[in-house]
Symmetry: C2
Subunit: 727 residues, 2 copies
């Protein structure tokens, strides 16, 4: 139980619910992690990924060296030089010249929308600005930096009572250092039979639950044993939670309610291919691949402009949102004009409430984007498995806590997808008309994966040639589990599934029920910025008078334009259905229909928590599935700009309360998709992907089916392939 | 206007809402259609489809000649010899020896479930029997024929008041002949400016709307002009409907309320690739294909047993259901045992109510499976476009009205799908654990397309290696349109989308709002036949007493086993959510959880029609999304065995009213998925595919994630491909 603590370096693997980091810590101090997943700028390089493929015909302009990258589009993220320049400007600015703050966010301050919309390639770029969220002496600074003039143009301080910025790795490291130097903690861990060298600690956010933890930045520390497994998540030291004041570097509370709960066994938890002794009992699959011998049909121009088929959009990595689609335009199938569909779209916030009231669990109500950052936690994609062969990879370039740039390598992949599906089809009778027409569906996908600790969130944007945009979220990775004193249901006094809300998923392991909500920011600009939100209500009419028709009832579509925000707060109801259109009331088709796109939800779930429950207050943006707000530059993060320990006083729900006019204006659509997750044995020790999403589908946007003239697959177009295994 | 009617053959293309046929009719009589889509047995042959591909390594046992096929499994469909033998037996049986009935269905009478379940390969087949639905002199005969003894073992007559069997092609031809020989009809058509030689007529079913049409078999005839287009659906002769008594071969009523409505123009309606003058304005796509140089990993054994990865199931074509999956078993990833999941699954009925009360529209409330047959209307799949390259094709073998066998060639395809998706993944921090694990998702799809006249229904069953089964329905083809006296919304007195329920989709063309409901029969047998339906209710609890927890509310999973059918009539509610499990209460996992599968709906819609509305009475099986009934051999068709002109007195809803016990019994799950369809311009003249479906997902069925040991994609496994276009 007792390790030599005198002179050895001990490694603690800790996990933050977003900034997944590894570091080696000694009693004397901290060794800055070095590795491909966490690069300071001194070490900027593309990570060599096994299996990366060169393809004939794949002609992508690659930035061999991010250090030489220059911005080419008004929305391009800050470059290495620009990030360094912002840091220089901050260093010479009061009060930062005296004491440099910790940098929690340092990103492009996007130009005004009008400026971006009027810019064309060849024009000089609009002034480059940075928006910085810095933290110093208990205050958050919202700083705007003008790179042209080299000036800080604005510095607004915000007190901690309004919430804090995304935590940094250093915040979490310091919290762990505090915990680690606690004799009481170490004794407790050893008392549970876990060697300190086997300790892997996680740093979940604390949420907000009233005055007790208010006024100070607090994080929780929970720990696992990594003895015998890389999958330490499955070996929780149940009931041990340390509450740490990050800024004051002190322990607020150590709670250990789990002394009678064994650490669950390591057996069967390792998911790595190299350690698998036996293949699953099934016929092996022959190799299968999406092949394009002439290479992909898309191009990435100027680093961020993706062009494919009839689509053109700007794609960038973002430390908080993960991946941002901007300026998505689709080419009119008849005029060739590129027509605006979406000015900006990204997952604005996640809400992941766990359903367990125990001391070690009640606070687990994460808002992953605002607390930890989806880009911050993105891992390099695994070629050939996360993305198919012909993928193009894009890096993320962010700022670390010291204001210096670092790279998230191979964070985004772009690829064409062909799944054997059908774009459209119809068969007719051959004697009069020999029409057996069918068109294969080929789409373009942009993908990233945020590994927010245990969970892996797979974010896809998929573009179809018929104008449809699909956003999809896949959930994989590890479920968050709870140790149980009982090995299984047979031993449990609740030997009855009826009484157990959260089920056993392995020996001594309970999969705690939870929800996932992902709220998308969708600044739709349908053929221009001024749009309206049209609700097409499908309602039953009793057909009257009696005897008028053999039918007694009918469904009719009644159209209602939302006038103010209140009209656009929508809870989906199967038996009170609507279609939800974003239309341009100034543009009508040749037939007189307003041009539009509709939002089509896939399977989803809604939060059942009370609206006055603190987690739901903070995540009040999930109170409805749909909201529409007038465009407001400052309203992008559904849980508020500063959502760490936020109280819910600056969310989409509070903005919407202003009930502003939204008709024929620049408006933003918000959609929340959800999952209830009652875990099961199949989710152990790693969970098969579960997906859902939504579509943005053109409705009277095109004059007619835009892909009617698309080419079918012909035999002579197909590749000729052989396999190494044939020899 | 006037054609030479004296001696020329005139061709009428007519369309039946299921039996899409072409025929040439003279004044003297009927010329039996000959063509690949409609083969009498004399002409049994595989149709040569362009683009069919031979692949290295694809080693499928093919039945070169269906005439030599013999049954090898108790569930195998009747063979050519068996169908002919059934006909011989019927011919010598009273009353059919005097007058041979029209054969509306002639299929295998499946053996009792116990018999099938106890049969193993090598055993002699259980006695082969046929179930025949024949129609003679206004009465339906339900006939059972024993092929072994050569006897009719049962012949039950049913009066017409209980509904009629699926219509036959001959029924519809005779109805059209009646219409065609009507001077009044011909005059009306010519009065609308349509040459009789340009006439294409459809034969929609009449539904049931009370006593007026009761007691006689009635079909409606509506017509279009095919002048200048193969897409006659877009050129309706609006308002002209002829009601025909099929058996008495007489016109009941000619209604023409559309004299002021022009025939919409042919322009832009032809969807065939050969006539497209201009490609859509978009960058062309490079060739893309799912490639497997070693061939597919699945095998089709004995004609109908599909084996792939960890799955094994029986697959057959069916004249009414289209495609039936039987005996689906998945291999346990650890023991290797094949475990039962689903005894039988198929789309049991469709309900497609249109929302227009006009004389020419009110009756359009189709039940496509029972009225026309999904297999009957299936067209040969288009290789490389309906299904990807490495597909295996399966024929359907059915009986025609004279009891002779005919082939639906290449009706089903089976293929492996790889869409670039992820089966499971997790990334860890490489310094301690170099775990960046991701597994590609490869699935197996069985697909067929029913072209029920204008609409193309793409039915997919998809099998995943993690045990999940997905059923998916894609809608494409032509929407049903209505002629308008106005060219567009600007000209319409309702120049206001608010007042128009169904919108303009082209000049003088309105896309009539409608719904689609597809009700699946799912005889789940989870590890055996005796199962229970477990509802896992996710319900909010206020956390009490106040102060007990910082949380004010929580969601809990409460488990309720459905005792009788009433407990299992489910309307989905977003804010009152359940999980729906089929469990085997006698089999618990090592942890004590009952083994099960859950039903996971995707996006769906529900019928808003009143329950006492005649179409909804007939389609009362759509009153709930979920039903569970005790297994009953005679309860397979949700709208009743005889659903043509049915009154709704023999539907899933009426069976469920018996409120039978369903706990720990052999039970059947029914799920209805739906679409509301408000058409739009993009649906004209052919509609991009819209899809939805549902999943059957293992829940505590496996001891753990069954694909944890699956192999990742490796560079050396991938094919080496080149393109003809490179030269």
């Amino acid at each position: 139980m007792v390790t030599d603590r005198g002179d050895c370096l001990r490694s603690i693997l800790f996990f933050v619910f977003a900034a997944l980091l590894l570091f080696a810590v000694s009693k004397q101090g901290l060794i800055q992690p070095k590795g491909p997943w966490w690069l300071s700028f001194n070490n900027v390089r593309k990570v060599k990924l096994t299996g990366a493929v060169q393809h004939t015909g794949a002609m992508f302009p690659e930035f061999k060296n991010l250090a030489n990258q220059i911005p080419l589009h008004p929305l391009d993220p800050l470059t290495v030089q620009e990030i360094n320049r912002v840091r220089e400007i901050l260093v010479s600015h009061q009060p930062f010249s005296a004491s440099f703050p910790s940098i929690h966010s340092l990103e492009l301050d996007e130009p005004e929308k009008d400026t971006v919309l009027s810019w064309v390639k060849g024009d000089p770029l609009p002034p480059r600005k940075a928006f910085v969220i810095a933290y110093l002496n208990g205050q958050t600074h919202l700083v705007t930096v003008d790179l042209g003039s080299g000036q800080v143009t604005s510095n607004v301080t915000v007190p901690g009572s309004s919430g804090y910025p995304m935590v940094t790795t250093e915040d979490l490291i310091s919290a762990l250092r505090v915990v680690y130097s606690s004799g009481e903690f170490n004794k407790t861990v050893e008392g549970r039979g876990v060697k300190l060298s086997d300790l892997s600690c996680l740093t979940p956010s604390t949420g907000w639950f009233g005055p007790e933890e208010e006024g100070r930045r607090v994080v929780k520390v929970t720990c696992c044993s990594k003895e015998g497994t890389p999958n330490f998540y499955m070996r929780p030291i149940e009931g041990l939670v340390v509450t740490v004041d990050i800024d004051n570097q002190e322990i607020v509370k150590i709670s250990d309610t789990g002394r009678d709960i064994p650490i669950p066994p390591a057996k069967n938890t390792d998911y790595r291919y190299v350690v698998q002794k036996e293949s699953p009992k099934m016929q092996p699959l022959n190799p299968i691949s999406i092949e394009q011998p002439l290479g992909p049909s898309f191009r990435v121009e100027d680093g961020h402009i993706v062009r494919w088929a009839n689509w053109r959009f700007h794609l960038k990595a973002d430390q908080r949102a993960g991946m941002i689609i901007s300026h998505a335009k689709v080419q009119d199938s008849e005029t060739g004009e590129f027509r605006s569909v979406m000015y900006k779209g990204f997952p604005s916030e996640l809400f992941v409430p766990y359903m367990d009231l125990d001391e070690g669990w009640y606070f687990k109500t994460y808002m992953d984007a605002g607390e930890f950052g989806l880009g911050e936690t993105a891992m390099p994609l695994v070629p050939l498995n996360d993305c198919p062969r012909n993928s193009y990879y894009m890096d993320g370039l962010f700022a670390s806590v010291d204001g210096k740039p670092f790279v998230q390598p191979n964070m985004i992949c772009i690829f064409e997808k062909y799944a054997g599906d059908i774009n459209w089809r119809h068969s007719e009778v051959p004697i009069i008309v020999d029409a057996r027409e069918s068109r294969p569906k080929v789409t373009l996908v942009a993908r990233m994966v945020a590994t927010v600790g245990n969970y892996d969130y797979i974010f896809d944007w998929e573009f179809q040639t018929d104008g449809l945009i699909r956003a999809q979220v896949g959930l994989s990775g590890m479920i968050l589990v709870k140790g149980s004193p009982y090995e299984n249901l047979y031993q449990s006094p609740k030997n009855n599934t009826k009484e157990m809300s959260s089920p056993f998923v392995s020996e001594n392991v309970i999969g705690v029920i939870h929800d996932h909500y992902i709220t998308y920011y969708l600044d739709m600009d349908i053929d221009g910025s001024d749009n309206s939100f049209l609700k097409v209500h499908l309602e039953k009419e009793r057909t009257l008078p009696a005897g008028k028709s053999p039918r007694k009832s009918i469904m009719k579509a009644k159209r209602q334009v939302a006038v103010t925000e209140e009209d656009a707060r929508i809870k989906l109801k199967l038996y009170d259905p609507f279609e939800f259109h974003l239309i341009n009331p100034s543009k009508r088709s040749r037939l007189g229909n307003p041009v539009g796109y509709k939002l089509v939800p896939h399977g989803t779930a809604a939060s059942l928590l009370d609206h006055d429950d603190p987690p739901q207050l903070r995540a009040a943006f999930t109170n409805n599935q749909i909201w529409v707000t007038p465009y407001n530059r400052s309203e992008q993060w559904a849980g508020g700009l500063l959502s760490y320990q936020s109280k819910g006083d600056d969310t989409l729900a509070t903005w919407s309360e202003r009930n502003r006019p939204i008709e024929n204006r620049d408006i933003t659509l918000w959609y929340t998709l959800g999952f209830h997750h009652v875990p099961c044995q199949e989710d152990f020790p790693v969970m098969p992907t579960v997906s859902s999403g939504f579509d943005l589908k053109p409705v009277n946007f095109f004059q007619r089916n835009p892909i009617i003239a698309a080419k079918p697959n012909l035999q002579e177009d197909l590749p000729i392939c052989w396999s190494r295994q044939l020899h």
